[in-house]
Symmetry: C2
Subunit: 417 residues, 2 copies
């Protein structure tokens, strides 16, 4: 029953994708603006629906943090609408001929950028993802099948009804934006193996969700998320700069994937750097955990265990390890890093180069905070997520990550010899 | 036991990949040439090992065609060596900075092309894939874990021993080229879920193998292969050109994925085209199967069933359907095509454009044979396979498909606001 419903939605999405592939940029942008206007005009409806989710969440004893993520206010609805208008203003990647060349036999071969087709998004609490993901997919000519968390089901139903109706009125095909209506977990299992109708699955949420999707999907997945990021302070580094970068990477927004989790310090800088840094971090509420050599300098802090090197805290906790050289730092990053964002603070040309070349991660920094790994910070104007895999897209994903290419070939009767 | 062996190989491959990522182009090319020389010098060994596989294959009653694929001769070994030398002569995609830009805060952000890391290849009978895949991976700085078919195990063991030894002598890290030594099927199951050590899996072989890998792998997969390709002859097309293209697409090499399987003909051209074409195809040994309207013109041929529209014959069989317009042709292709290669023969500007834009396939042709979908024909100088998925790579895959990018970011102390 659930299976049939979802398959039916997949089929409609596939049909919508076929129609969307040839919709013009202007039409798509008009639809995005109409969706924004509808969100504002019908904010009351959305907030009433959200109240049901909030009440259920409170009754269920959801944490403050989760309830705050779930909450919709007139301001937050206006922000969602603003996001759609910003998307409308961005260039459309679809339709670009990336390159075109002529073969000796006269065949002209081009790579045309086209939508992926149907995108499946499986996400957790935040209802703003519903608008965000629908907007990104529509902008790039993709149909989307959205599967939100059960905590936000009423909010998501209200939002998706508002925006999908507005899109249809603006001339988009029905089925371009669809929400899975049931909270039955079976729906996810069906989506994971719906290769016929889904071209890609993007999980957005905690590591448990992402693991489930990666391990069980036969549909291609873009893995996002986990970031166990390091900053390495090299011998001879500018220690003021190091402190500024460390405090930013750890405390500017500790709950996100590009925040620093472990600090690596060259042994010759540890004595000078750590006491002041330790105070500054403690003043910001950061709990420190150190290796034995760190604790010789900061005896008051807890000992870091193997577990600490492996943990993405997503919290005001920092592990610190003293190392004797760059190689030791690189080995630590290779062993415990999750190939997300890694930084070195250095004045040395060769070690900067070695770090950039050797570290296997989506983003590698010299003398800058890991917090910059972000589609907006990179200048993409939008972000679908941060890919931690190597296929298709790596690092911050802008609109292009929701497209593929097809070869278009112009001939005048060529046959193969 | 099998599991531990394979995991150990994966671990060695991961270590080798880390070392390979910073090996220079010159060193990689020298290693490829050394591997080529070693193949030639030790051809006798390889051919002796192949004889064991041939004898076992004959005893097992393998078909002529399979035995021919399995067979190694001095000429075939020389061809494999030649392939490695050609690879050595190609440009190295690794190390290119694809683009680089500066943000308003002064951060300089670049996309550096890097190896994927560790590539797993699961393939069937042909032992030449062992050399081919190892060469492509080494050229692009990837470690490779090869899993060939049990029919070719002795050949593959001999070949991989020769080339991996030569690579190590030439300075490549041990573990860069490894063959799975057991023919136990459990080895494949382990590889499919070895996310820790494998960055990508590429299955090369029949549709059964590819389906198994796609359905069961948690490691990201690049799907290659199945091609149910069409040629559509439009109203007003140059029928001589159409006949030339059809004969080429069907008969030049019928057993490959870019060969045509179904012909779609506009009803206004069918009467003129089909009788002569039917004779020409029959003369080439092609069996025709037609829709009822085709059989009004060619009453002697078999009726095509729903099954025919769905079948990738990979053989001298052609299904023919008469359609009344482009829309009907597009619908047929959308319903039965496998999104591989599709062609229109036309003189009409607007219908050529519509076909190019509407058909969802890796390669779409106007007035040329579908047989051109090939890395060498496209000018890539090499081919890993033809991707029929949309993520990462689509259509013929050259060396670039075995690479990814990482962001390298140069700062001077930037922190996020």
């Amino acid at each position: 029953m659930v299976r049939e419903q979802i398959m039916e939605q997949g089929k409609r999405a596939r049909e919508a994708a076929r129609a969307l592939a040839t919709v013009s940029t202007t039409e798509k942008n008009e639809a995005l603006k109409a969706m924004a206007a509808a969100l504002e005009a019908r904010a009351g409806e959305i907030i009433s629906a959200n109240r049901l989710d909030m009440e259920a969440g409170e009754a269920k004893g959801l944490s403050r943090a989760l309830l705050d993520r779930l909450l919709l206010t007139p301001e937050r609805v206006a922000e969602m609408a603003g996001g759609l208008r910003e998307l409308a203003a961005l260039p459309d990647p679809v339709g670009e001929v990336v390159r075109m060349w002529t073969r000796p036999n006269g065949l002209q071969i081009g790579q045309l950028r086209v939508p992926l087709g149907v995108v499946g998004i499986i996400y957790e609490a935040r209802p703003n993802v519903t608008v965000d993901a629908a907007g990104l997919c529509l902008k790039t000519g993709n149909a989307v099948l959205l599967r939100g968390g059960s905590e936000a089901i009423h909010s998501n139903q209200a939002i998706s009804a508002v925006i999908s109706e507005a899109a249809v009125v603006a001339g988009m095909p029905g089925g371009a934006i669809q929400l899975v209506q049931t909270t039955d977990r079976e729906a996810v299992n069906v989506m994971l193996r719906m290769n016929e109708y889904l071209d890609v699955l993007i999980p957005r949420g905690g590591s448990g969700l992402i693991r489930t999707v990666v391990e069980n999907a036969s549909v291609p997945v873009i893995e996002t998320g986990v970031g166990n990021c390091h900053v390495y302070v090299d011998q001879g580094a500018d220690l003021e700069m190091a402190e500024r970068i460390i405090i930013n990477a750890k405390t500017q927004r500790p709950g996100v994937c590009n925040a620093m989790e472990t600090l690596l310090v060259h042994s010759q800088e540890a004595v000078e750097l750590l006491p002041g840094l330790g105070k500054a971090l403690s003043a910001k509420g950061v709990e420190l955990r150190g290796c034995p050599r760190t604790r010789e300098i900061l005896p008051e802090i807890k000992e870091a265990t193997e577990e600490d090197w492996m943990t993405e805290y997503l919290d005001l906790i920092l592990a610190i390890k003293v190392v004797d050289n760059l190689t030791e730092a690189l080995d630590h990053i290779d062993t415990y890093g999750t190939r997300h964002s890694e930084a070195i603070v250095t004045r040395d040309y060769n070690r900067a180069r070695t770090f950039l070349q050797s570290v296997d991660a989506a983003a590698v920094y010299v003398n800058a905070s890991t917090r910059f790994t972000d589609g907006f910070q990179y200048g993409f104007g939008a972000e679908i997520g941060i890919s931690t895999q190597k296929l298709h897209a790596r690092g911050p994903m802008g609109l292009e990550a929701l497209t593929t290419i097809k070869y278009i070939v112009y001939g005048d009767g060529q046959i193969r010899q």
